[in-house]
């Protein structure tokens, strides 16, 4: 039995976990659920030794153990399979070598590789899991689900007792998910415990025996699945009052700006239909892995559109690159601000004028005066707190960085703005200012797509909301007439469950 007792973990400025208890019996499938930021991943990372330095105790079979690095965790029989499987695999080596990595490294191997044994043993592990993967295949040639299986195979060879699967089904198809569940059940019958982190409640109810719920870094409780329902779990996961208020200005909603029909493409975006009207803020609600970011990027020309098209002001087009999308009048404020939204080591001025640099050039030469003027104006308009327009963005706060990422599009003639989690990692004060900026945009008759997994934010800010699950829009709701519970219900796949029952 594995027991975590009064675990507390503090990151600078944030208490990610506060006195959390967690218990798993041998041979059970145990779900760990909670809204975003509830601390599920943090708790499991502690268990897998990814974070040293936590308060509280961890026991295995009543022996207290320490967990300072992943190797220690492995020796205690705990293995984690992260959603990003590639972090644990060596792509240009074979399946056999990847499964047997621990054996090769542990020194039980002689100096010379025992290829015969390695291949035979790897094949046995895969056969035992009923998997048909060629062990001589390179891992880089495998599908995502097969890569997961290789990691599970590695855990089995390692005789792991506790297997943690972090959001394993998010990138999988329905058939692949079924296959994974089959294997998980098999492992359980062999006496392994599987801890299953998932946002998808329908799946949790399908295979888990027990559910532990976390909320805002605190332990809510552990329940037998039999005594729970999806509705009840949602209730346990939420139960939080709305803290933020949203400055909602009444704006007239006019003609349709953006129309997206039968839209499919890379990143698992599947048959999405939506439209945005002038003066309207449309929410895109969904959990992590629901496909919001993928849809935003695909609309913006990042990725391959397999089917469907976008109509902007009645004019159809298929952006092949973000440059096409900008040309047509779309703007994107991406989720990963530091990586995708701004040039961290450049000045505020450079960042603000980047997408519209053409306007401030004469025969391809930049006109410093015009650039300065435009930047100063937009610093003022957007309310960026910076000592000067020459300041490096790296030295600004997260909120102000985000305002630059938004402000750069203010200078463009974009008609539809796509915001992907714009308030992620932003303090409360700046959040309100960002909401105000968005309000200004709609007042000018622009259309907004606002993707977020913070449901209270969606409810407060938007006029209409599309709920996404597994890469597709599963429900369209009027924001004023819905609740957080309803949003969570649909974005956890509740609608699908409804149909099945």
């Amino acid at each position: 039995m594995l027991k975590m007792k009064s675990i507390t973990k503090t990151f600078p400025g944030v208490k990610a976990l506060d006195n959390v208890d967690f218990e798993v019996e041998l041979g059970e499938i145990h779900a760990l659920i909670g809204a975003n930021g509830a601390g599920k991943s943090t708790l499991m990372k502690i268990l897998a030794g990814a974070y040293g330095g936590y308060e509280g105790d961890i026991f295995i079979d009543d022996n207290k153990i320490t967990m300072n690095n992943p190797i220690e965790a492995k020796h205690n029989g705990i293995v984690i399979v992260y959603q990003e499987v590639d972090t644990a695999l060596v792509p240009h080596l074979t399946v056999a070598e990847n499964i047997m990595m621990d054996y090769i490294v542990d020194g039980k191997n002689d100096v010379f590789m025992n290829w015969k044994y390695i291949r035979k043993q790897a094949k046995q592990e895969l056969d035992a899991l009923d998997l048909d993967i060629n062990v001589n295949c390179l891992v880089s040639d495998l599908t995502l689900s097969e890569k997961q299986m290789v990691l599970i195979g590695r855990a089995v060879f390692h005789k792991a007792k506790y297997l943690i699967l972090d959001e394993p089904t998010a990138p999988l198809s329905i058939e692949e998910t079924e296959k994974l569940f089959e294997i998980v059940r098999k492992l359980k019958n062999d006496g392994m415990s599987v801890i299953f982190i998932s946002h998808r409640l329908d799946e949790v109810f399908k295979i888990c025996e027990k559910i532990t719920v976390l909320k805002d870094g605190k332990y809510v409780g552990t329940f037998a699945t039999k005594e729970m329902t999806i509705d009840k779990s949602v209730e346990k996961m939420l139960g939080r009052k709305l803290e933020n208020s949203y400055p909602k200005i009444k704006v007239d909603i006019n003609e349709t700006l953006l129309e997206v029909k039968d839209f499919s493409g890379t990143g698992g975006v599947n048959n999405v239909n939506l439209n945005v009207r002038s003066g309207e803020i449309v929410g895109l609600a969904g959990l992590v892995g629901g496909g919001k970011t993928e849809l935003c990027k695909l609309l913006f020309g990042e990725g391959n559109i397999l089917q469907g098209e976008i109509k902007l002001k009645g004019k159809g087009f298929k952006p092949k690159t973000p440059a096409d999308a900008v040309q047509m009048g779309l703007a994107l404020v991406p989720e990963e601000r530091r990586k995708e939204g701004i040039l961290v080591n450049e000045s505020v001025e450079t960042n603000l004028t980047l997408p519209t640099l053409d306007k401030y050039c004469k025969r391809s030469f930049m006109q410093k005066g015009k650039i300065k003027k435009a930047s100063v104006e937009s610093i003022d308009k957007v309310g960026i707190k910076t000592p000067s327009e020459k300041q490096l963005i790296a030295n600004l706060s997260g909120g102000n960085q985000q305002k630059v990422a938004i402000g750069k599009w203010f200078l463009s003639d974009a008609e539809v703005f796509i915001f992907d989690e714009p308030t992620k990692g932003v303090d409360v004060g700046s959040k309100a200012e960002i909401y105000e900026l968005i309000g200004e945009l709609v007042a000018q008759g622009k259309g907004i797509i606002y993707a977020s997994c913070e449901f209270n934010e969606i409810l407060g800010l938007t006029d209409r909301v599309y709920v996404m699950y597994n890469g597709t829009v599963v429900k369209e709701l009027i924001s004023e007439e819905t609740t957080e519970e309803e949003l969570l219900y649909y974005s956890a796949g509740g609608a699908l469950n409804e149909k099945q029952n």
Partner: protein, 333 residues
Amino acid sequence: MKNKTKKKQFDLFKILYKYGTIMVIIAAILFFAIALDNFFNFNNITNIFRSVSIVALIALAITISLTIDGFDLSAATIAGFSSVIAAKFMVVWELGPVPAIIIPLVVGVLIGCINAFLIIKMNIPDMLTTLSMMFLLTGVSITFQQGSAIYNFMPLPNNGGIASGTMHEAFLYLGQGELFGIPVPVIIMLSVATLAHIFLNHTKYGRYLYMIGGNQEAAKLSGISINKYKLIAYMISGLIAAIGGLVLGARLGSGEVDAGGPYLMDAVAASFIGFSIFGIGKPNAFGTLLGALLMGILLNGLVMMNFPYYSQDIVKGFVLIVALSLTYYKQMR
């Protein structure tokens, strides 16, 4: 139906990816064998092998560094430096062949250590470290030979008379000798390639290098000491480069100024052509050897067909582009 054609195309690509480079090699051999009467005889074949031996050795050195996702740009300069050390030891300092062989090898390993130290402890990217080392060594080497080539009976600077030492016979054997009719450089090249192949594919240490190169984080979490094996990789790289340098010096019979430099780009090309052999997609000793041979075959054949020597780089560049396309196009999919 539509689906079927798609599948067929995919298979064709797979075959190309796997055997493309081999097919190019076979096509080149067939073409020259038919077009030229004396291409396919024993003498010419040994000639090709001998001509690529130094490039191949330097390329093998680079290959070892590539396995850990590094890049030893200093390999060719290490080779040049080691040939100069050997020459100076024998001609100017009148030492025997044994120190003239051992010391350059030790120096090669030491330079590998310094490279590794800068990469691991100073955290300078591999390519920049070895680029700096390349410049540094070129300068050190020329300074060590006081600005001029070192050869038998050379006049010594400052009116020191004529150098009384000579390049030793046993040393020259490394570059000019034959064993059972096979040139010694070819034997050395094949032995090093075989040893490197066994090391990389059949010992766990070789696998560690690949794991580090493929996914450093995963390798670390499996308990591999990353720094130790990076150090080992650069030491081996330095050693093989120094071996190449000995063969080079023995071949020339002297210590030339910047003797190694010109081999760098050919060696880099050979290593990367090696990626594409059998679709392995990663640095490997056997592929590197074939890569060097492919370039040797093309150059040899073209020279025999009176292809202008000044246009040879066009062919090299073209072959490299084809090989790299085969490797990287697949990774994009």
